[in-house]
């Protein structure tokens, strides 16, 4: 959408950091080489679950070139990203919980020596029962993997009900009951995690790391090393891909920090690719059951969702992931009554956490495939069916999420038109098919991880007589283009070129706090903070120039690197002169901007996950060719329309959409973070099935379809210049659209991902034998759910509170926390 008044925003541009990236000059963490630098390697557990009896480091310490060997004794304080699950130690102390859990660290003159020394560390273990599958963890509360959590090996149980769902389903004309499985997958950033720790000349700690969240690393270092946060500087190097995999504080970051402090020398670690597979924090495998009531007129009466998440060995973001599996169904479609019950269990596998779409792609898959089944049963076109149930704009959902603009109907119309859907759906020859699916996603989480009243993002601007502007922001460049968003917002407001603005980002000493590059929050939150800071700078300059030129400030325009009288453009000064005039008048120039999301409407416990300033929407049609003999599946074309609000830099927005389609196709067709047992004559340990890029299949250039992207631009008042997110939402419809297209092509339902040729063949064989023409999980296990929190939907007189929950004040008093900290001005 072109807007005559905008010069930078909306124009396809070379990103500000483009030159650095194409010349190989972007400095990633492992590119940092410092004088006297030492190298670190971790010894990782080869057993999935065991008590540590003893660790003997004598031989390793004696090896020539070894400077330091650390064990869990050096790290008595636990940390973790969520305050409710500080369950990690930088090196394991009492037990190991998965193959890959770090037990000791060696710091040596080079990597080869450090590796050799790790083999000389002797660890005596007492093996414990291995929990390989969620069903094991549900069935066996002992031995506990962790000594905390809701019960036994259940980490988290969530139970929420919005209106009488049982009555709604009983009164519905049809009730659909389907079980789905979504296999785990990993981020596979091409850059392996790396970090460098050093003690600066003042004796303070500096850590460079390929992290998406320097602020959380900062917090974790301060806590686990018991140091004042003000004496720690975390610098997020540009990430060579993140996708959520670099958003936890990691043990290796804390280890090199500790080692650098002890040795007073820089210490670097770069993980091997195998270690990256074991670090993980990726997509949770989720088993889910959707019961959906539908009325004769094709509207939804209610949805009852249960999810079971395989969390792996630690908490990570898992409590949030659990809530997210049930949060956004109502943001997409009008669901008058809703019940969500989620369960996350611990298993002895690498910890799961946030991967692009965080917790929502799994249940999105189930919901969109079930909607396809419902449409078929009701004999309505699945696109028309969805158009009938799209959630209304400017509304509160049953679970108290506030929807702003919603252009989902436009998205559906767009892909239907572009793909010639009406002439193709159910009309293509056998073996060819099309499928449609939709989705929604957050433009940033409405509540912070560490609950407080502080801004989620801050931007500072420095302007001086050079005419140059420096923008400081804690946001982290992970490839998505956050530096470009920052300078574009500032340049637009000040009427200068993006290349006139220098971005200084992701440095906890130099830049104001931004919570990090996750949850699709940066464009909206940092963008709003940048616009606020730039508007304040413009107002300062306009005031000064107004007096000098004797032109009222409201008549001054900032454009083309000039500040001039809009009604008489020849009266004006260059931007540089304007800054000098302002600097002479006010002294040194600097402004700040910050962003805090609006307060959520939900007042019940758990209502903190899901709120966002605004939501993005996506619709996609995927075309498949399926060989009915071999099940071989190919995707020739994808049509996708995304409700972006406004595309700040369409080149980068398109890249996010296409990158999401790519990653979605990987999850739909081939990617699996799967595990196997080593043979009993070895250790019988539970290990990653294929911790290598060769065997962990991901799409290449040869697998990519043509992608037709349509950006739907209806500016949303919540976003900078009306922008919403784009980094995650467009991934979500791809997996269910592939499944729905496979059904259109060969008439079998694959109710789980990845959708492999083997599964298609098995479903075709089942169909030929007269059995259910389906491949997928048989049943959802019995889980002893707690009594749900009962929250009446807004249209049933609810106020966002649960009727059976003590008030928040009372809960806090009972828990004995924040008793004195609650006094505020």
């Amino acid at each position: 959408m072109s807007d005559g008044s905008l010069k930078v925003i909306g124009e396809p541009r070379r990103r500000v950091d483009g030159r650095a990236k194409v010349t190989g000059q972007t400095r990633f963490a492992d590119d940092i080489v410092l004088p006297r630098m030492l190298h670190c390697k971790l010894l990782r557990s080869a057993l999935p679950h065991a008590r540590i009896v003893s660790v003997d480091t004598t031989k390793a310490e004696a090896l020539d070139g070894v400077h330091l060997v650390l064990t869990g004794d050096a790290f008595p304080i636990a940390y973790g990203v969520l305050p409710v699950s500080h369950d990690e130690h930088a090196l394991c102390r009492d037990k190991v919980r998965f193959v890959g859990d770090p037990v000791a660290a060696v710091i040596a003159v080079d990597e080869a020596t450090a590796s050799e020394a790790t083999r000389l560390v002797h660890v005596e273990y007492e093996p414990l029962r291995t929990f390989a599958e969620p069903e094991d963890s549900l069935a066996h509360p002992e031995p506990r993997i962790h000594e905390y959590g809701d019960e036994g090996n259940i980490h988290k149980l969530v139970s929420l009900q919005f209106g009488d769902v049982d009555a709604a389903l009983a009164a519905a004309d049809h009730v659909f009951d389907d079980t789905f499985f979504f296999e785990g997958s990993t981020h596979l950033p091409i850059e392996q995690h790396a970090a460098v720790g050093l003690k600066d000349p003042d004796g303070k700690l500096v850590v460079y790391s390929s992290t998406q969240t320097p602020h959380y690393v900062h917090r974790a270092l301060a806590k686990s090393l018991a140091m004042p946060a003000a004496h720690i500087r975390v610098i997020a190097t540009p990430n060579g891909g993140g996708f959520g995999g670099k958003s936890d504080p990691f043990n290796h970051e804390i280890v090199v920090a500790k080692a650098a402090l002890l040795l007073d020398r820089p210490v670097k670690i770069c993980l091997t690719r195998e270690e990256v597979f074991y670090c993980h924090r990726g997509r949770h495998p989720v088993l889910m059951r959707f019961r959906t009531g539908v009325r004769k007129d094709g509207t939804l009466a209610g949805v009852d969702l249960q999810t079971l998440l395989d969390g792996g060995a630690y908490g990570s973001y898992g409590v949030a992931s659990t809530f997210y599996t049930g949060a956004l169904q109502t943001v997409t479609y009008d669901i008058p009554r809703y019940r969500f019950r989620g369960c996350r269990v611990f298993t002895n596998k690498p910890p799961c956490g946030p991967k692009r779409g965080h917790g929502t792609p799994q249940a999105r898959f189930g919901q969109e495939v079930q909607l396809d089944k419902i449409a078929e049963r009701l004999d309505v076109d699945p696109a028309d069916f969805r158009l009938r149930i799209v959630a209304p704009p400017d509304s509160l959902t049953a679970n108290y999420l506030r929807i702003g603009t919603i252009a989902l109907a436009d998205c559906i119309h767009s892909v239907v038109r572009q793909s010639d859907w009406k002439n193709r759906f159910r009309k293509l020859p056998r073996g060819r098919g099309v499928g449609l699916a939709c989705s929604s996603y957050l433009s940033g989480a409405g509540l912070p991880i560490n609950w407080n009243d502080l801004p989620h993002s801050g931007v500072q601007l420095k302007l001086d007589r050079s005419g140059g502007v420096t923008a400081f922001s804690g946001a982290t460049e992970i490839g998505q283009g956050s530096d470009d968003v920052l300078v574009a917002c500032v340049a637009e407001v000040l009427g200068i070129d993006p290349f006139d603005v220098r971005a200084v980002t992701g440095d906890t000493d130099l830049t104001p706090v931004d919570l990090g590059s996750y949850s699709s929050r940066v464009t909206l939150m940092m963008g709003n903070a940048a616009v606020e800071a730039a508007t304040r700078a413009r107002d300062l300059i306009a005031g000064a120039v107004s007096r000098r030129l004797d032109v009222p400030p409201e008549r001054l325009t900032f454009a083309e690197r000039r500040v001039f009288d809009a009604s008489n453009p020849s009266t004006g000064v260059s931007f540089q002169e304007a800054v000098c005039i302002a600097e002479a008048q006010f002294g040194t120039l600097g402004t700040t901007g910050s962003y805090t999301p609006p307060k959520p409407a939900a007042q019940f416990k758990g209502g903190g996950v899901g709120p966002s300033p605004t939501y993005s929407y996506t619709a996609a049609v995927v075309e498949v060719d399926v060989d009915p003999e071999t099940g071989w599946i190919r995707v020739p074309r994808v049509w996708i329309a995304h409700d972006i609000g406004r595309a700040l830099n369409p080149t980068l927005v398109r890249g996010q959409v296409e990158g999401s389609v790519y990653m979605g196709l990987g999850e739909a067709l081939m990617e699996e973070q799967a595990f196997r047992r080593l043979p009993p004559r070895l250790s019988n340990a539970l290990v990653h099935k294929f911790p290598s890029i060769l065997e962990y299949k991901s799409p290449t250039t040869l697998d990519m379809p043509e992608i037709f992207t349509d950006l739907i631009e209806h500016p949303d008042a919540a976003g900078p210049f009306g922008a919403k997110e784009v980094g995650q939402g467009p991934l979500l419809p791809i997996m269910p659209a592939v499944a729905n297209a496979v059904y259109d092509a060969v008439g079998v339902r694959i109710d789980e991902v990845p959708i492999t040729p083997q599964k298609i063949v098995k479903a075709l064989q089942a169909k030929a034998a007269g059995r259910d023409a389906r491949y997928g999980p048989a049943a959802f296990p019995q889980i002893r759910w707690p009594e749900p929190l009962l929250v009446a939907p807004p249209w049933e007189g609810g106020d966002g509170r649960a009727s059976n929950e003590p008030s928040r004040k009372k809960r806090k008093a009972e828990a004995g926390i924040e008793g004195t900290a609650g006094v505020r001005a």
Binding site: G18, K21, R27, E191, G240, G479, T651
Partner: protein, 172 residues
């Protein structure tokens, strides 16, 4: 030039031509070309994603051929001509591929970019105006997790279009 037996711990003299400059360095016998480029010659533009020959991030040109530098021992390369991403800029100007990648969104995080750029350069040096299929084949060993590849392929096409058809062989 390569000694028959390499003593452990003894460094070996290695002459190379890197980005048109003759260099000579003492290297450990076990080091790959990737490690020598990054660690001994400080050419950190070349990246690594697996060090097992699986991802393509470490691709460089050896005598004009795209080569996975993580699979090649440095000592296998005495006297050979190596081009890394640092060698694509000439006379202070970006190679047309670099301009096209920067302009058209072909580099997001930029980590796989150096390997893809040199691989694409080798293709254009040989075939100045390749078809889309040829570009897809040439880049099929380079993994990118950000872009979905389409903007990369379009950037290679744009760079090819920027190369005058009369100019054969050497890209500018």
């Amino acid at each position: 030039m390569t000694p028959e037996v390499i003593e452990p711990g003894v460094k070996v003299r290695l002459p190379l031509v890197v980005n048109g400059e003759r260099v000579e360095t003492l290297v450990d016998g076990y080091k790959t070309l990737l490690e020598v480029l990054r660690e001994d010659l400080q050419l950190t533009g070349t990246k690594h994603g697996c060090e097992l020959g699986e991802c393509g991030a470490c691709a460089v040109l050896v005598d004009g051929e795209p080569t996975l530098s993580c699979l090649l021992l440095a000592l296998e390369c005495p006297g050979r001509d190596v081009v890394t991403v640092e060698g694509l800029v000439s006379d202070g100007r970006l190679h047309p591929l670099q301009d096209a990648f920067a302009d058209l969104g072909a580099a997001q995080c930029g980590y796989c970019t150096p390997g893809i750029l040199v691989t694409a350069k080798a293709l254009l040096d040989r075939e100045p105006h390749p078809t889309r299929e040829r570009i897809r084949e040439a880049l099929s060993g380079n993994l990118c997790r950000c872009t979905g590849y389409l903007q990369i392929i379009e950037a290679v096409e744009a760079a090819a279009a920027a190369t005058p058809r009369a100019t054969r062989g050497q890209a500018r």
